[in-house]
């Protein structure tokens, strides 16, 4: 019965990773860059919703909308100010810039809201008791899993059917050719960042509801793990990010339960290394041959 509990908390954790990973995988697939600051956008989303609920006293729904709005704007701003000038630069330069952005967000948050952790008031509370009280599942876990599935399906439809989605796929395949076909590549990349950041805001609210604490570094570890999940599932693939996130969450939860709480992060990272070595394209990724 504990095993089921661990599995469900792993699924819930994995769903959060999956939501974050969707942002990573879309940006990586289209802009070919690792947006290191993605995890910190989650943290900003958490703080915005926290302030909206606790200081401004707004209802949870409005707070979430506000967080989504702020994060979307923030994502587009970051892309336009920091990443756009580096479109032609080496990946090393872009990665260092992204780390810079990540540090900027963390430290700005620390100056604004202080380094002390705040206790996040969960948006959703309550427990479902099954099997005569032996199995207790918090409702926030269930909501997280459902939200993740719904968002994944919508996103998949959007990318495969919509006009903008098609533009995204075209940019991902070949930016030059897409440009020649009349697609505004810069705008498409901005839209990608907007969607990724909006998802990050939702992930932030869910993350903080499930693990009710919030500080400026809240987003960094889940961010890195979500990137791991994106690589695991195959970077650039939406269902891949979903599967990768869930698997990673389950691995982490079971490792903590049955092997060691201390080594949980290490084992997650070891999974990343093994995946990169033996199947660099991940579970659902496609192999891209290198052009000379």
């Amino acid at each position: 019965m504990e095993f089921l509990s661990y599995l469900i908390s792993g699924l819930s954790l994995g769903s959060v990773y999956a939501l974050i990973a969707l942002g990573y995988t879309m940006v990586y697939g289209i802009a070919k860059m690792l947006n290191f600051a993605h995890g910190d956008v989650i943290m900003i989303g958490g703080y915005v919703s926290f302030i909206a609920m606790n200081s401004a006293g707004l209802p949870a729904g409005v707070a979430i909308l506000l967080a989504v709005l702020v994060c979307t704007v923030l994502g587009v701003l970051i892309e336009g100010l920091a990443y756009k000038p580096l479109r032609e630069a080496t990946s090393l330069a872009v990665l260092i810039t992204a780390i810079g952005v990540s540090y900027f967000l963390q430290n700005a948050a620390q100056l604004i809201w202080g380094a002390n952790p705040v206790s996040y008031t969960p948006v959703i509370t309550g427990t479902v008791s099954l099997a005569g009280g032996k199995l207790n599942i918090s409702i926030v876990s269930i909501v997280t899993i459902i939200a993740c599935i719904v968002i994944m399906i919508c996103l998949q439809l959007f990318i495969s059917k919509g006009k903008i989605g098609k533009a995204m796929r075209a940019c991902s395949e070949d930016k030059g050719a897409a440009q020649l076909m009349g697609i505004n590549v810069n705008r498409t990349i901005s839209i990608t960042f907007a969607i990724g950041s909006a998802l990050a805001a939702i992930a932030g609210v869910l993350l903080c509801s499930a693990y009710p604490t919030l500080m400026p570094t809240t987003g960094s570890m889940p961010g890195i793990k979500a990137f791991t999940a994106a690589v695991f599932g195959g970077i650039g693939s939406v269902p891949g990010a979903f599967i990768g996130g869930l698997l990673l969450g389950i691995i982490e939860s079971l490792t903590k339960a049955y092997i060691s709480t201390q080594l949980a992060n290490s084992i997650v990272f070891a999974v990343l290394i093994i995946v990169l070595l033996f199947r660099p394209v991940g579970i659902l990724g496609k192999k891209i041959s290198e052009k000379v």
């Binding site: 080496t90 260092i96 780390i99 992060n265 990272f269």
Partner: protein, 365 residues
């Protein structure tokens, strides 16, 4: 050709001159002029300079971003502490003991670099960076699980995976001494690092790195950095050269770690986390990738300044972050470069001669 070579040699001497001059000035000042707070910064500054030089070798010369160099420092620091503490009876002379600890610590860090290099160097770009980050975290977690003690029967090591073990699980004899207490790190270490040792280490590391860059191997490494495919086509063994540079870089970072670890009576593995790696990266990037003198100066200024101005510490990382972004955009965006270049035209004419060799080295791509 000849003048070019000479200018390179002359340029290569600059870092030595600066470091020696700084050492002489600081040594004179340390007789009363400098306060204790300043004196205490000397050794850590040396450590960070050496670590930054090591990372510079990896990022600037090899052209691969490592986000886990603090991990190598960590290996060096803890191996150094174990070596120094277990040899405290057999080598009473602290200078000799420090030397032995640095050598052993550097060797272990180099070994770690080699083991990590096998998988890591097969990858490229972002993937490589993220995997070094992963390894940095794994090293930290593994050291966090170590409990080490020494008694007359030798070293006792326990791996504390569940986290619930303690010193008593080492089963040491009565006179045993605990060196590393798991997650709480090394406590009660005899501090034997000195500023002189730090100075010598910088000089030696400078010598190693400059010779490496100008050697056949070093040129091969830079050729790989500039164009991997062309280098491979010319018959260079990519993996071998990359590995040499990576292991050297790891070893030097380990040596810096030993100096650091033996400068404090207590040290924890979580000190060498991702943030420390980034801090060193900031030193390297702001000093100019591949620029040795720049790295030394940037490290000194950026480490000492915030310690001197405590009120500023809140804004330190924020300013670093902004500068990191601005430097990257300014040096990598054609338009911005042209714009600033235009402003600098007059100045540039004055400084037109010299420095081109460095410019070559400091190129990223």
């Amino acid at each position: 050709m000849l003048t070019n070579k000479n200018s390179l040699r002359r340029k290569g001497a600059m870092p030595y001159i600066v470091v020696v001059a700084a050492f002489i000035v600081l040594s004179i000042l340390s007789n009363g002029v400098l306060g204790r707070a300043h004196m205490a910064l000397l050794v850590p500054t040396c450590c960070y300079i050496v670590a930054a030089l090591a990372l510079n070798l990896c990022v600037g010369v090899l052209g691969e971003l490592s986000l886990g160099h603090a991990g190598f420092m960590s290996v060096g620091a803890f191996v150094g502490v174990i070596t120094s503490e277990s040899l405290s009876a057999s080598i009473p002379n602290t200078g000799v003991r420090l030397f032995v600890a640095i050598i052993i610590g550097a060797l272990f860090a180099a070994l770690a670099g080699f083991l990590i290099g096998i998988p890591v160097l097969r990858l490229r770009g972002d993937y490589l960076a993220i995997v070094t980050l992963a390894f940095g975290e794994i090293i930290k977690d593994l050291i966090t699980c170590l409990i080490v003690g020494v008694d007359e029967n030798g070293l006792h090591i326990v791996f504390n995976a569940t986290g619930t073990m303690g010193v008593e699980d080492l089963h040491m004899t009565e006179g045993g001494k605990t060196i590393i207490q798991g997650a709480q790190g090394a406590v009660g270490t005899q501090t034997i690092s000195t500023f002189l040792a730090g100075f010598i280490m910088i000089i030696v590391v400078l010598f190693i790195i400059q010779n490496f860059i100008n050697s056949r191997t070093g040129r091969a490494v830079m050729a790989i950095r500039d164009d991997r495919i062309a280098a491979e086509a010319s018959g260079l063994n990519i993996t071998k050269y990359k590995m040499i540079a990576f292991v050297l870089s790891a070893g030097i970072a380990g040596a810096a770690g030993v100096l650091y670890g033996l400068n404090y009576s207590s040290i924890v593995a979580s000190k060498f986390n991702f943030n420390t790696s980034i801090l060193i990266l900031v030193f390297v990037v702001l000093g100019g990738l591949g620029n040795i003198l720049g790295t030394i100066i940037a490290t000194t200024i950026l480490y000492v300044l915030p310690e001197m101005l405590r009120a500023f510490s809140d804004y330190r990382m924020l300013v670093y972050a902004i500068v990191l972004i601005v430097v990257m955009i300014a040096t990598n965006n054609k338009k911005v470069r042209q714009f600033i270049g235009g402003l600098l035209v007059r100045k540039k004419k004055k400084n037109a001669e010299g420095g081109d060799a460095y410019w070559l080295i400091s190129r990223i791509k």
